[in-house]
């Protein structure tokens, strides 16, 4: 398979993982797309550097040939797949472990005792601060 073909499969896997397998539904959320725009901007920067300096080089026969900031367009698909899969698993494990602060998007039910016990108080200095 060419890089192009695998990259398309990679995107499909990520979409299915998010919407059907883990049902994290990130692709339907503003929070994901906003974060993704930020990540892509930095991807173009860092990936452009890696490819522009020939730290990574590509077989022209394995890609379509279209490039964006030195990098093959396939890298965007690769990055999308990586980011979606990572964030879907992050949310999934967050649900499972029940460690997510209920501060945001909470519907005010009293059952989230464990979660609310971990709610950070805005402005309360964290112990990890230097």
């Amino acid at each position: 398979m060419s890089y192009t073909a695998i990259a398309v499969v990679g995107v499909a896997v990520a979409i299915v993982l998010d919407l059907a397998v883990l049902r994290t539904m990130l692709l339907t959320r503003r929070v994901f797309w906003t974060a993704y725009v930020i990540v892509v901007a930095f991807q173009l920067l860092t990936n452009g550097w890696l490819t522009g300096r020939d730290i990574v080089t590509y077989d022209e026969d394995a890609i379509l040939g279209a490039r964006l900031v030195h990098a093959p367009v396939e890298d965007l698909l690769f990055g999308f797949s990586l980011v979606v899969q990572t964030l879907a698993w992050w949310v999934w494990w967050g649900r499972r472990l029940g460690v997510t602060p209920a501060r945001l998007g909470a519907r005010g039910d009293a059952s989230g005792v464990r979660a609310s016990a971990r709610v950070p108080r805005p402005g309360a200095g964290s112990a990890s601060a230097p």
Binding site: R29, R30, F42, T57, W89, W93, P120
Partner: protein
């Protein structure tokens, strides 16, 4: 490049208080689900000749499968940065991510 990414996102943890590194167990589990998939893809791609890494511009530690050490670090750093980005947007905008209860 990896240092740039780590240092560039560190303020999100320290000042914005996204608490991603603090949830290290959750982060490790998420990474464990993703990294093997992409390492496998990478090993295949290198083997098939889809891309290659310049030996002069990597530290020279090559892992089994033909990947430079940097590539493994890449697959740890980039997902961490993307989680930090997601949590930062949540923190700033207050939009639900899907793990709220």
């Amino acid at each position: 490049m990896l240092a740039f990414c780590l240092l560039g996102t560190l303020p999100l943890e320290v000042w914005l208080g996204v608490r991603v590194y603090r949830q290290w167990r959750r982060l490790a589990l998420a990474l464990l689900c993703v990294v093997p998939v992409f390492v496998a893809w990478d090993v295949y791609a290198v083997d098939a000749g889809h891309w290659r890494f310049d030996p002069d511009q990597t530290v020279g530690v090559v892992l089994p499968g033909g990947l430079p050490l940097e590539e493994l670090l890449f697959f740890l750093v980039i997902p961490v940065c993307s989680v930090l980005a997601l949590e930062a947007v949540r923190r700033v905008r207050g939009w639900p991510v899907g793990d709220e209860r």
